[in-house]
Point group: C2
Chain length 181, copies 2
DNA sequence: AGGTGACATGTAAGCTTTGACATGTCAATC
DNA sequence: GATTGACATGTCAAAGCTTACATGTCACCT
């Protein structure tokens, strides 16, 4: 039960979409799950083939331009449910930003400030993107019959909060360095 | 210039330690960089060999039990500096916790609450660990001549803040779900 | 003298991930 | 009629990473 995450993400998106092609899923990955999990089409297409072989998804129909439309099977739904309910969270977070932060005291304060400045700019941009995503999602009225919490909202909220936290950290770190210099 | 991060982390630790064996670095990884970057000894030993070949580190001496003591070269220092100053941050954050959060609305509120409960317990434990690390580091008085900011402090602070943010998010998410149920 | 456990280094198989290559369809514009 | 660009699917090689295997030293305890 290791390295299931790509499968799970795909099953989740498929559930949300009802049915979709590999291409759709790849685009969906970029749009909605990107801040949570990344995968290119070169990973997605083979994985969908394996998942088909394992009976988690099926090719429901084939459209124009060789388009294959997948949908989730009941087995797939069971797998997804089991993972969500039974998976122990492991906190890896291999983060380049955090690594940079870790090593920052190796530079002299002036240089460290420059690095933090760039990092801050990056984080600000990312925050703007996430907030735009949130705004776009909530601009439309809630469709009838939908539950209160939209799919992916919790994760987007988490992403926004963490990005804000990083920004605050960068500001405080800069202030601390300036006091020293 | 991709996938340098392991190298950089090793060069950083070596700078901090002055000199160290692969074994020391592996232990140091567990203790101090783990929340920022992970690597087992089976990755560290071969990488040190490659770095030696590339002239970034040298085997300064060989001690008991086949122990090899590495130190950083001026080339290594240059590489580390260049990365820190010139590296554009890329925000991957492939996070299983965030993925779980993303998919949570697929469960019904009761089940989702259970998942959040476990997640919260995990995050609380992690927070306690990080805070214990901070306390341990700052219990000792600052050694003479040292700069104000200790090595790794900024990253630890960032980690603590982000873990706290995740905890707050979990609490709010749970409250929101309870209101619905 | 023997056992345990921390110290210490490595290799190998297998999986995931990335980036580049490769191919072809269809719609719209020039 | 030709070109461009989004649509659409795939493969492959190389790099990264994890897990397990494999070996040996040294200190301490019994």
């Amino acid at each position: 039960m290791r390295g299931m995450s790509l499968r799970i993400a795909l099953l989740g998106l498929l559930t949300a979409y009802g049915s979709a092609s590999g291409y759709d899923l790849a685009k969906g990955f970029e749009r909605s799950v990107a801040h949570v999990w990344q995968a290119g089409h070169s990973q997605i297409y083979p994985e969908l083939a394996k998942m088909t072989a394992d009976g988690l998804v099926t090719v429901e129909a084939e459209g124009a331009r060789g388009r294959k439309i997948y949908s989730i099977t009941s087995e797939g739904r069971a797998e997804l449910r089991a993972w969500l309910i039974g998976h122990d969270p492991t906190g890896p977070a291999r983060s380049e930003v955090a690594l940079q932060a870790f090593l920052l005291p190796l530079l002299d304060p002036g240089e460290a400030l420059d690095v933090l400045e760039r990092l801050k700019a990056y984080v600000e941009q990312k925050l703007a993107e996430l907030e735009a995503m949130w705004a776009a999602k909530h601009a439309l009225p809630v469709p009838e019959g939908a539950s209160g919490v939209k799919f992916g909202d919790l994760a987007l909220d988490l992403g926004i909060r963490q990005t804000r936290t990083t920004l605050e950290w960068a500001n405080d770190a800069m202030a601390q360095l300036e006091r020293q210099a």
